[in-house]
Subunit: 199 residues, 3 copies
């Protein structure tokens, strides 16, 4: 297993936990928690793969995704209390996951022969669409439309990655820089309550 | 027309009626009723076909699906009173439809060369996603996340079907057993108020 | 750039403006406004392309779509006041856009070798699904299910277009007639408060 796969699985698990925790707040049953965990974890990548035409989607061919999501539901249940104490680290991992999903989405889109602009869009879609689905399924206005600027951070990070890729040969270095950039932007945005107001 | 096609059309019609009745409760117009009937009837199969990459989706190539849904709208309107008296039989047919859609979804997924675990997931998606769409379009938290355990019944039925298929040669026998199993589980679940609580 | 492309871009821009204005009413941030503008403008065509299996979707291969949507957001913000005065002309352009998207969707579906009935359905989907998405993202029951009969107008227009195409050779003439027909029906429907009641 290489580093990208590892981060990909880790991101999937973390997003699944975030979905399962949201489902528990809404008092859904175990099946509902699993579905919302799955939608949160693989929703972004699935939507991207449908748009660029890469089917069957990855979680149907690589069984690890379903296993990780299935594991995330009892884990969320058992460690519910600890996760609330761990909220800060969770937020850090979540932000890292978003950064990584941005890059994975971009790479997959560029692989399909699409333009850099399409890649940036699909990077952002991969990173944030899972959370949008989670909120729609829980019948709320998606949080990304109301708070935080983290989708904007994904787009900025995507542009940075494209620039780095055109200048430097070291892909893994470029990835690390981009993930750090997105993570830092998002944390600053939340801490300092940055908003892109629009009235 | 073989037995599978017959059940497939029958299931489509019954789900369309359930969608049209939901639309009438929300006082939508005829077009709204048609769209919600269509989403309820073909939503599960459509979503499955997008995920596994079988396009164009079946209701665009086999005209019967649109005809059946179009017929279900006036039929629901005319027989609205009777359907409410028939509620128990409706529920029985609905449960049978869910059982059958589970198997049809699994067969289609296995045909596409995917794994048994993917087949079980896609069987459940085929059976329940139409109802999820209906509830989202009517702006409610999908009922499967709040009540009943019928998606879980689809998954249990899917696993049973895989076991039967690996042991017995008689496909139609296996299908009948599985449909009965899912139907009985679902009816028991509703009657005895089984819930998979998760707090 | 031929006439069809021109109308296609014009329709995209107008729908994007309608999405951005809806986002501003909900006080979403710039990113939210962009996403809802994008969903409104390309949602119908994207859903159609997924169903008929034409991927990657057009706005990933033709950069103009993303550029037009990105431009629509600040334009909506700046000319917000004027747009409200221009409401009547907006409504006219919007209706024309719907008429044109109906025809574009039908042509693309017929090109994919599908039946006339499938083409009429996909024409209506192309025209109205963007608005449905906009309303779902803003957490409202889609307006097409509650008011107006404009989806019905798209279907009637689609049937008219098929009849014209089978009788007359002049495609551009047929298109203009159909767009006028859909526009007039929709305007009459709103002015005279036509409803297809269903109780």
């Amino acid at each position: 297993m290489n580093l990208i796969d590892f981060f990909s699985y880790a991101g999937t698990f973390l997003f699944a936990v975030s979905g399962a925790l949201a489902a528990m707040e809404k008092k859904l049953d175990v099946f509902g928690a699993f579905v919302i965990a799955l939608a949160t974890a693989v929703g972004g990548g699935t939507f991207r793969d449908l748009l660029i035409g890469k089917q069957p989607v990855v979680w149907l061919t690589d069984t690890w995704y379903l296993v990780l999501v299935a594991a995330a539901v009892p884990v969320s249940h058992i460690f519910k209390g600890s996760f609330q104490k761990l909220r800060k680290s969770m937020f850090l991992f979540d932000s890292m996951g978003i950064g990584l999903f941005t890059i994975l989405g971009m790479e997959r889109t560029l692989d399909a022969g699409l333009s850099p602009m399409a890649a940036v869009s699909m990077g952002a879609v991969s990173a944030v669409f899972g959370g949008v689905l989670r909120d729609i399924l829980c019948n709320e206005i998606p949080i990304i439309f109301r708070k935080e600027i983290y989708a904007t951070a994904c787009i900025a990070g995507g542009v940075l990655y494209l620039i780095l890729e055109s200048c430097l040969e070291q892909r893994s270095f470029n990835m690390v820089i981009t993930v750090c950039f997105i993570t830092v932007i998002r944390i600053l945005a939340v801490k300092r309550r940055w908003r892109l107001e629009f009235r």
